[in-house]
């Protein structure tokens, strides 16, 4: 996520469009967990997950120039992933053996009642977007506080961010307030 914030996602995608390989790998770090999460939620095996991942990446690389709204990239990836999973189901003829129409589970952009998973993904996307609007220091602090798997102590955070420990509290408060304002502004319920 920290990579995501560098100059925001639009810059990252612009770099990808120009063929910057490093930017592509930063983008992969952002989108791949989403792809694999959806595959896992759909109970695909590891190999099937990698198969879907490869196909979605292929679509992304070939369509990156057509993306009208770069900030919707997670939505594009999630939708593409679900379509590929549906194709896999269809190929396996799983659809014939279950009593619901899987196509109903494949959301499109106009879907008024998207499935729960998509809601969760949207929340993630909204939060990403909201967090991306934070100043970098605030973004970095929230990331270190809540999403860093190493769970760094305040001392470590201060060292990493090159700020005094005593400023973590006020910065965090400021960041959360900014985030609340952005979320409110975006009318997220």
């Amino acid at each position: 996520m920290s990579d995501l914030h560098q100059g925001n996602i639009t810059n990252l995608i612009d770099k990808c469009k120009m063929g910057d390989e490093q930017a592509w790998f930063q983008l992969v770090d952002l989108i791949a967990p989403v792809i694999f999460s959806i595959c896992k939620q759909n109970r695909l095996s590891r190999d099937e997950g990698f198969d879907i991942y490869g196909q979605v990446c292929y679509e992304l690389v070939n369509n990156i120039n057509k993306l009208k709204s770069p900030s919707k990239i997670l939505y594009f990836v999630a939708t593409m992933t679900r379509r590929k999973i549906y194709s896999l189901y269809r190929k396996m003829r799983v659809k014939d053996y279950i009593d619901i129409d899987i196509s109903e589970l494949i959301p499109d952009e106009k879907s008024p009642n998207p499935e729960k998973n998509l809601e969760s993904l949207r929340r993630r996307e909204w939060l990403f977007e909201a967090m991306m609007k934070l100043p970098e220091k605030e973004y970095q602090l929230l990331h270190l506080l809540f999403f860093d798997k190493n769970e760094p102590s305040y001392k470590d955070i201060a060292k990493k961010m090159k700020i005094p420990v005593s400023s973590i509290g006020p910065t965090r408060g400021k960041a959360l307030n900014s985030l609340k304002r952005i979320i409110k502004w975006k009318k997220i319920k």
Binding site: E21, W24, F25, V28, D29, A32, P33, V34, F36, S37, K40, Q41, R46, D47, F50, D51, Y53, G54, Q55, C57, Y58, V61, N62, K91, S120, L121, R123, R124, W126, L127, F128, A130, L145, F146, F147, K149, E151, Y154, I168, G169, R172, G173, L176, L179, K180, I183, K184, I188
Partner: protein, 196 residues
């Protein structure tokens, strides 16, 4: 540690689902009177759950490797004069073995390519230390149109007929670098670079 610092620690514990009953009650009490905080925590929980449902660190390296090969293949396909160069989207040899599984001397391998909205899937089975059985299938628009498949090496060529189901089989192919082409009577449908 200040009160707000303690509160933040509690939220982190909450997000990581590592609270005890007392902490859980404290956290609930803390957020119950603050709608904004509750909303932010819900958002943070959602993003944390999404991230923690898979162990990205474990699959990051093979995922990058798959992507590196994909980029390479796409570049190569774009720079080629033909529009039938296949791009590898899946290769089982790039994936790590499950925990506790020892690598075999020679392993079976599955590879999947995309070319013009069609898939070419190959399964490679070792039949001797120096050769593989190659079974492939074409799926997509032209899958049943009576194709032939050719495997070409500098001094070895093999050809087989693709059956009505889009399946073809080379029973014994010596290791080496091959160019596998799938053609119908008039044109080449797919070209795959294969390193056995």
């Amino acid at each position: 540690m200040s009160k707000s610092e303690e509160d933040m620690k509690k939220i982190a514990v909450f997000l990581h689902s590592r609270y005890n009953n007392v902490e859980y009650e404290e956290i609930l009490q803390m957020i119950s009177g603050d709608d904004d905080l509750r909303r932010v925590i819900r958002q943070l929980s959602a993003i944390y759950d999404e991230n923690s449902s898979i162990d990205w660190e474990k699959i990051k390296s093979p995922a990058h490797e798959v992507f590196r090969n994909l980029l390479k293949d796409i570049k190569s396909a774009k720079s080629s004069r033909d529009n039938n160069v296949a791009v590898r989207v899946f290769d089982s040899s790039l994936l790590p073995l499950p925990e506790g599984v020892r690598p075999a001397g020679v392993d079976t391998r599955r590879i999947k390519y995309i070319v013009n909205d069609q898939f070419v899937e190959l399964s490679l089975y070792p039949v001797s230390p120096g050769s593989y059985e190659v079974i492939g299938q074409i799926t997509g628009t032209f899958a049943n149109e009576g194709f032939s498949a050719y495997m070409e090496h500098t001094n070895k060529n093999f050809s087989v007929i693709v059956n009505d189901c889009g399946v073809f089989r080379f029973p014994r192919v010596p290791v080496g670098k091959y160019s596998l082409t799938i053609t119908n009577e008039t044109q080449t449908i797919a070209r795959v670079e294969l390193d056995l």
